[in-house]
């Protein structure tokens, strides 16, 4: 009689479908997964520690490097935490520009999600379509701040420079294109039978499990938990916009994909409202040249593309933060990988990994 035994397969850190330098130790019984253990730390740069030796203003470009496909949201989180600490009031126009940039970046980040997911499922064509449209947003960022990914545009007290007419006009053009874009995606992948067969009823996370893991962002909303910090906290100008929070039912891979597709449409809705009601005025508050927040601490959380991104800053009254801690959504979401993979086939591990959508820059920090 043939003797079988479990064995461990190392997926990554150079595997093309791990989206970065993540190693997953997959324990296999034949082709069935018994356990999947993520091994992290390959991209650790010690950003939290680096921030302790930089002034508050100098810290902002480091946040670009956390979640490098949605840099604007990271800038926003850090700047709002410092503003809370120092009691800086942000002008209304700056708040609106911030919302436009953050939501554009959310769409761009979901493009990466769709692109890498379809690529992992064997459709390289899908990746090209998503990245083609993402390029349109990166070009918008190039106009407004001169960088495509590491934006460093949202600053403490406002934004780095005013939004030009060219930027607003091109953003409007992109928003008009969004329904056509989503329709094309739906025709390309959502209706595809193979795509559906791979996605539906695989790697299910129930509501209870999602809450237990402390997940956030589209991943928890796919399991049916109504948890969106834009709605709960209404930070910045988000209270002024009318938008819905799409929710999933089953919490499988398909729901996690559809949530993101719906979120693109919702983000476009927010941007449209911001463009229509854009107030005039200054784009930067009066921030002292040498910023010394009073002694104390502040925590501020924003809805990043991947979930709840929080910055905890302790100030000792000097120009540099005493301690910075970053609550990274990808890091927390990644803990569900083992549960998602158990009982699935090896090929599904790639899909499960793609739909959690972790970003190693943020996981390792």
């Amino acid at each position: 009689m043939a003797q079988t035994e479990k064995y461990v397969l190392n997926m990554g850190p150079q595997h093309p479908s791990t989206h970065g330098v993540l190693q997953v130790q997959v324990e296999l019984d034949g082709e069935n997964i018994v356990g999947a253990k993520p091994v992290m730390g390959y991209l650790h740069r010690g950003i939290e520690k680096l921030m302790e030796s930089r002034t508050y203003v100098q810290c902002v470009p480091f946040t670009d490097r956390l979640d490098y496909v949605s840099a604007m949201n990271n800038n926003l989180g850090f700047c709002m935490a410092v503003e809370k600490l120092a009691g800086i009031e942000v002008p209304e126009r700056a708040e609106y520009i911030r919302v436009i940039c953050a939501e554009l970046n959310r769409i761009a980040s979901h493009h990466v999600f769709i692109g890498s997911l379809t690529n992992d499922l064997g459709s390289a064509t899908g990746m090209i379509y998503a990245f083609r449209d993402r390029e349109k947003i990166l070009d918008l960022f190039n106009i407004i701040c001169g960088a495509r990914m590491t934006a460093h545009y949202i600053r403490i007290g406002g934004v780095a420079a005013d939004a030009q007419d060219e930027f607003l006009r091109d953003t409007q053009k992109f928003i008009d294109y969004v329904p056509e874009m989503l329709d094309e995606y739906n025709k390309l992948f959502s209706g595809n039978e193979i795509f559906q067969a791979r996605m539906k009823k695989t790697s299910i996370i129930t509501k209870e499990m999602a809450l237990k893991f402390g997940m956030s962002g589209p991943n928890i909303r796919a399991s049916g938990v109504d948890y969106d910090i834009r709605k709960i906290d209404k930070y910045g100008a988000y209270g002024k916009f009318d938008f819905e929070v799409p929710l999933g039912k089953r919490g499988d891979n398909w729901d996690r994909y559809m949530i993101r597709m719906k979120e693109i449409a919702e983000s476009a809705k927010i941007i449209q409202q911001a463009l229509d009601n854009m107030p005039e005025g200054p784009y930067m508050a009066k921030v002292p040249k040498v910023l010394r927040p009073p002694k104390g601490d502040a925590y501020h959380r924003v809805e990043n593309t991947r979930g709840e991104l929080g910055f905890y800053i302790v100030s000792d009254g000097s120009t540099k933060p005493y301690r910075v801690h970053i609550r990274r959504p990808s890091f927390v979401n990644l803990q569900a990988l083992d549960t998602m993979c158990k009982g699935m086939l090896l090929a599904d591990a790639v899909t499960a990994f793609a739909t959690i959508d972790p970003l190693m820059g943020e996981v390792d920090c």
Binding site: F62, A147, A160, F189
Partner: protein
Amino acid sequence: MWGKGLITGMKVTWGHWFGKKETVYYPEEKLPMTERFRGGHLAFDEEKCIGCKLCAIGCPNAALDLTVSVDENKKRHMESYVHQIGRCMYCDLCIEACPTKAITWDKNYEFASYFKEDMTYDALVEARNRRGNDE
């Protein structure tokens, strides 16, 4: 019907067969850089610089290494303006800190190099060379 979605998808890709190209033939054809583009070497203006070193103080990664001399009239002169590209993260803080706008990006993005030494250059020497070529 199974397979209907596949055919719809194929129709989309076929639709792009005849259409505008999204890409450019890179070395022959180049995209223009935007007005606010951050990248390349620092274009240094010797006449505008007052030697205050605010750019070097503002840099988060200490990528600028400046030598300033003071003459008998107590006027400050820049002796060297070394920019280490390997340390630079193009955050624009040096340029925003400059009170006289003596530095700007030269917007040349083709500066990849084989050796680490080539990633360090003196912006002052480059500015003088450029002026020498113009004259």
